[in-house]
């Protein structure tokens, strides 16, 4: 079925042919609800115009870097100015130098060193130009809001806060709404983000693989000029490859393994021990499908969630826990802005109840935000799947929480232990999976 909200938006942008206009008005005439939707969208369009034309937008309280040019200095006026003045570009750019800021900063570094052999410093400003990572992992936050994690060795060029070139290396990017349109170029491809999370890897031959975890991107081969190119839309769960040997963009298998080092950096995980494996999202995101007897898997489920109602979690206070008291419910209140992760130990194959050789995994993970709740009971996991679970996750309703010890268990039987650190950012787990899957949902405060 045609997406009518999209059709209306295209109508508002004068992008419909007569046949499509006829379809639209037939649909509007068919039902009062359709007409209401049309009226609401056109009203929003006109309100937007009125507010922007009259400069009536209310800035955010923390908004001190509004990057939109003032209305009275239009880009057309600047273009004219640039044509009149021979050194126009220099003059125009100097007009804005007073509030110029570095396009990007180092937001996180895990053993990362630059091309000069110096370790990166947190908060270090990155100017336009060459950017080398000799080893380690680094997260670069752009002033546009884009976050790009880079795994060394990598060679990049920062053009501006909406445009980078990856000459070699592996990067993953999370592009929030304000940075939609962020461009990653390589020698073989030009990737334009359309609101998404994706990975790009470029090898020494320029071969470029693009893997879309969430949302969609548009990929052009560099050999095709913009005007006559037919860009390829790549959506969640798809991957494509561009090489210098061909001007085609080929579909390849969706394989996220090469991004497993950079993706945690994008996802707010500061550090995890080797026994924890971070899984990049994709359409096949089915927690129960990932069986691993040696490692605890970490899935980023959702970010930017603003709960509209209180919900219950099992643990909130720092300390060591071996027993989840189902009767003790702690509320996380509505409002705020939260992110959720799912940690899982699901051993390969089925284990007999009472088996003595259950896989046991001890691991630790540190987040870049404060943990405000742990959900470890099957009941609360089930209850929060809709709000906090990955939109494409298939959460099997079975026993899945941390198992409480039974009276018959010996004291050192290796029952699941959870330790939440005093600063509530680090979680230590000692899990031994039995017949059920062990899952813990971690809820962090995105603003703190």
């Amino acid at each position: 079925m045609t997406d009518m909200t999209r059709l209306i938006d295209r109508y508002l942008d004068n992008d419909l042919g007569d046949d499509e206009v006829a379809v639209l008005f037939e649909w509007v005439a068919a039902d009062a609800a359709n007409a209401d939707l049309f009226a609401r969208q056109t009203l929003l369009d006109q309100h937007t115009r009125e507010l922007l034309e009259d400069d009536l937008i209310r800035p955010r309280l923390d908004d001190n870097s509004d990057r939109v040019r003032p209305r009275r200095i239009s880009w057309r006026a600047l273009t004219v100015l640039a044509l009149i003045v021979v050194v126009g570009k220099l003059v125009v750019s100097s007009l804005f130098d007073s509030d110029r800021q570095a396009p990007a900063i180092i937001a996180q570094s895990v053993g990362a060193y630059g091309g000069d052999g110096e370790a990166f410093r947190l908060g270090e400003e990155l100017e336009q130009g060459s950017f080398e990572v000799s080893r380690g992992l680094v997260r670069v936050d752009f002033s546009s809001g884009a976050q790009v994690a880079v795994e060394g060795p990598a060679s990049l060029e920062i053009r501006d806060d909406m445009h980078i070139v990856v000459k070699r290396g592996v990067v993953t990017a999370v592009i929030p709404e304000p940075a939609i349109g962020f461009v990653i170029e390589t020698s073989a491809a030009r990737v334009v983000d359309l609101g998404t999370a994706f990975g790009v890897s470029v090898d020494a031959t320029g071969q470029t693989d693009v893997c879309v975890f969430d949302g969609e991107v548009e990929v052009n081969h560099q050999e095709m000029k913009l005007a006559d190119s037919s860009p390829r839309r790549v959506t969640q769960g798809q991957a494509v490859r561009a090489t210098l040997a061909s001007s085609k963009i080929d579909a390849v298998a969706f394989e996220t393994a090469r991004f497993e080092n950079t993706w945690p950096i994008n996802s707010g995980v500061l550090q995890a021990t080797g026994l924890m494996k971070f899984v990049a999202p994709g359409p096949e995101f089915v927690p129960g499908r990932y069986e691993d007897s040696e490692r605890i898997l970490v899935f980023l489920e959702r970010s930017g969630v603003v709960p509209t109602a209180d919900f219950a979690v099992d643990l909130v206070d720092p300390g060591q826990y071996q027993r989840i008291h189902r009767s003790k419910q702690h509320p996380v209140h509505a409002g705020g802005r939260i992110r959720s992760y799912l940690l899982q130990l699901d051993p390969v194959g089925q284990l007999e109840r009472g088996a003595t050789d259950k896989p046991r995994v001890i691991s630790q993970v540190t987040f870049d935000r404060t943990i405000i709740g742990l959900i470890a009971s099957s009941k609360n996991l089930d209850a929060t799947d809709e709000l906090l679970g990955h939109p494409h996750g298939d959460y099997v309703k079975t026993r899945r929480g941390i198992e409480p010890p039974r009276p018959s268990d010996p004291p050192d039987s290796g029952r699941d232990v959870v330790v939440l650190s005093a600063d509530r950012r680090t979680l230590s787990l000692d899990l031994s999976a039995g017949s059920a899957v062990d899952q813990i949902r971690v809820v962090v405060d995105e603003l703190n």
């Binding site: 938006d9 004068n14 007569d18 049309f38 922007l52 709404e177 548009e218």
Partner: protein
Amino acid sequence: MSNSDPVQRMTIEWTRAQPSVARFVCSFLRDRGEADDALQEVALVIVERFEDWDPERPFVAWALGIARRVVLTHLRTKYRDRQIQFSEAVDQVAESFERLEPQTELMKDSLADCLGQVRGRSRQILSLRYTEDLELKQIAEHLAMTASNVGVLLHRVRATLRKCVDGRLKAEGLS
């Protein structure tokens, strides 16, 4: 001059109703010059026929009824060679505007807050589309993107704004 003075009454009523009528006209007549002409035609009819208005009936509904006929005339002229049936759609949308009229200003007020949160490339595109009044193709040239991409981005920004405004209206008990 008292409130019973027909001219004063008409001025007050038209001043109140004019924004809604203008937005209704603009919903169908996308060319701003044509929309302005149509709005003037509506105003002229209102002046000529103000005595026909039944004060028991909301003025905005009466004015929208006039605007509906003016809009239809313009659309039939514009698409005279095409087989497009506008009449029922225009009627339905006029009724929608009448229904939405009480919450229109709250919608706009909420949108002002929501727009304040849009930054970066999204804000730039909104600015080029609305403040500079550029078409998709012109924006695409300016940003070195395809027009289709610009359309998708605008659609996404608007979807976010709609969601934001709806959330605020819901919190106010409207939706």
